[in-house]
Symmetry: C2
């Protein structure tokens, strides 16, 4: 079987390789074996290859935060899963053709849904859902604001907010995205700039915005802070600017804003298994119902992992890049 791995930290498309390894063998009593149907290439994967992610694995290393797979064998003690079921694994190292997983680490997902979308279910949708719900209890009709609104998480957040009746201000860094983001359900789309606060107040009739979601860092957070009401929360989950997340002294003391960050992994680790299953069932239901969808730009076979990674690392993509390691889907 084939897997993607890297033996040195470096430029992702230069160090990632598709290599042959031994098959996974038969499942233990509490395990299942799955064929990986598709996995996306996420920013965190690219950071991991560059050695800039919080997790710096020993080399050579497999990687991949998420995938969707089909159960092809299961151990005698496994309940609730049968051969043919589609699943998403909660563990890592998903850039493989096949893997053996503890059944407790598998979340069953509907079989009647586009598997490319299911391959992107594990990370971005719950990231958007949890950032929207965990810090501030927004009421229907209230506003949130996010930057990097054209990212994978950004698209999910627009759609998840819309479904909850929460209105969204979506900050982007270039013109030409308003139609697409409004079609997804975004209420306001604003190009970033020094007068962002004024424009957002005008566009929202001066609404008191209590939650901001940021993936840029640096002074972008100050400009988001200008849009917020006193004691609002800013949740940072990325650092596209490469600069330290920051607030002004006026924003910390006189507005008493809160700045913190979100990371999915420890959040999931603290949730009960039933709670995790329920959340993913809800989000998979949104995908099935058509109210949650992430655009796909390209799919590649695993043999072309380097090209796939290069495309995923390019600026101005129109959607996610995925790999289908067991052949094209659908």
């Amino acid at each position: 079987m084939k897997i993607a791995q890297f033996s040195a930290f470096g430029k992702p498309d230069e160090v990632i390789r598709c290599v042959d390894v031994d098959d996974v063998g038969a499942p233990g009593p509490d395990e299942a074996v799955i064929d990986v149907l598709a996995f996306p290439i996420n920013p965190a994967d690219l950071l991991t290859i560059e050695g800039r992610y919080a997790l710096r694995p020993p080399l050579p290393a497999r990687l991949g935060a998420e995938c969707v797979g089909r159960v092809i064998a299961r151990g005698r003690d496994v309940r609730g899963l049968v051969e043919g079921d589609l699943v998403i694994p909660l563990d890592r190292d998903n850039w493989v053709q096949r893997k053996k997983v503890k059944a407790a680490q598998l979340v069953k997902v509907p079989s009647n849904v586009d598997p490319l979308q299911l391959a992107m279910l594990k990370v971005n949708p719950p990231t958007a859902h949890l950032m929207m719900t965990k810090y501030v209890k927004l009421q229907p009709g209230e506003w949130l604001i996010q930057d990097a609104a054209n990212s994978g998480v950004g698209h999910c957040l627009i759609q998840i907010a819309k479904a909850a009746g929460i209105r969204s201000v979506n900050v982007v860094r270039r013109d030409g995205l308003a139609d697409e983001l409004k079609a997804l359900g975004g209420d306001v789309v604003a190009v970033d700039g020094p007068d962002l606060g004024e424009r957002v107040r005008a566009a929202t009739n001066g609404a008191a915005i209590r939650l901001a979601i940021d993936a840029v860092g640096g002074e972008q957070i100050v400009r988001l802070g200008d849009c917020l009401t006193e004691e609002a929360v800013i949740v940072n989950y990325g650092l596209l600017s490469g600069e330290n997340p920051q607030l002004t002294g006026h924003q910390t003391v006189f507005k008493r804003l809160w700045l913190t960050g979100f990371w999915l992994m420890p959040t999931l680790q603290r949730m009960a298994p039933a709670e995790i299953q329920e959340m993913y069932a809800m989000l998979a239901g949104r995908i099935a119902g058509g109210s949650l969808r992430v655009p796909v730009e390209a799919t590649y076979p695993i043999e072309q992992i380097a090209q796939a990674v290069a495309q995923a690392n390019a600026y101005r993509r129109t959607g996610k890049v995925l790999v289908t390691p067991n052949g094209p889907l659908g």
Copy 2:
């Protein structure tokens, strides 16, 4: 009677004046008249004169966040106060010889305590007390860390933490302060530097520090963050560096630190009157008992307000500068 006022924003000792105004007259039914015995010159007063504080008063303006006064007359409906009582007013504009105040805005304080210390009771002690207790429920034996440890709030925090059994790491920007801060009750005194985190871990045996108090801003907060455990809170209350409070992306996402700010005024406005009285009674009791004391560097008559302000604005003071507008005390 004499008051201090300024008619233009500018360099504090150049624009502040002692001027004569009409006396306050007799108290209304729910008012008291007090002679101001002493008021301190605080950083927020200097910022107000410079026009850099959140409150930018119309000019010419009185100012002064705090004082201690003696009741010299009271209206017929005033209960719980008699002539001769010492009080601290919760309202502003305290740089005056005499003022008329709603009795509900007066907190009675003990008469057997150094009035210079009582003049500094309103702002710094509750700022330290509330920052220590409002965000994280520290247990006796736990640690907190603060910078600007040699400031007025810093001195209060050391003593209030000590009294609560909380251990303190006190970060300063120059050598030579350790003996003084340890004598106040500080457990560790550390001079700031790039390896602050390492030195603090060594000095605390790797204690999990959950609360940091910052008055510096900028990258000082990143270095405090290096000393903290995951999901710790950093409370900013000043901006001595003049630079934006900031965290690294690692600290927001992977450590999930929280950064916010504290401002006494809105915090008091949300407390019940009885809760405020109780807090000040507790803190005044600490002053009376000798466990809470702020060093005094100099006192001036109100006619020399400009010299007093100049000295308060100087670097490397050894204590607070106060004014005794009705003549020297004690």
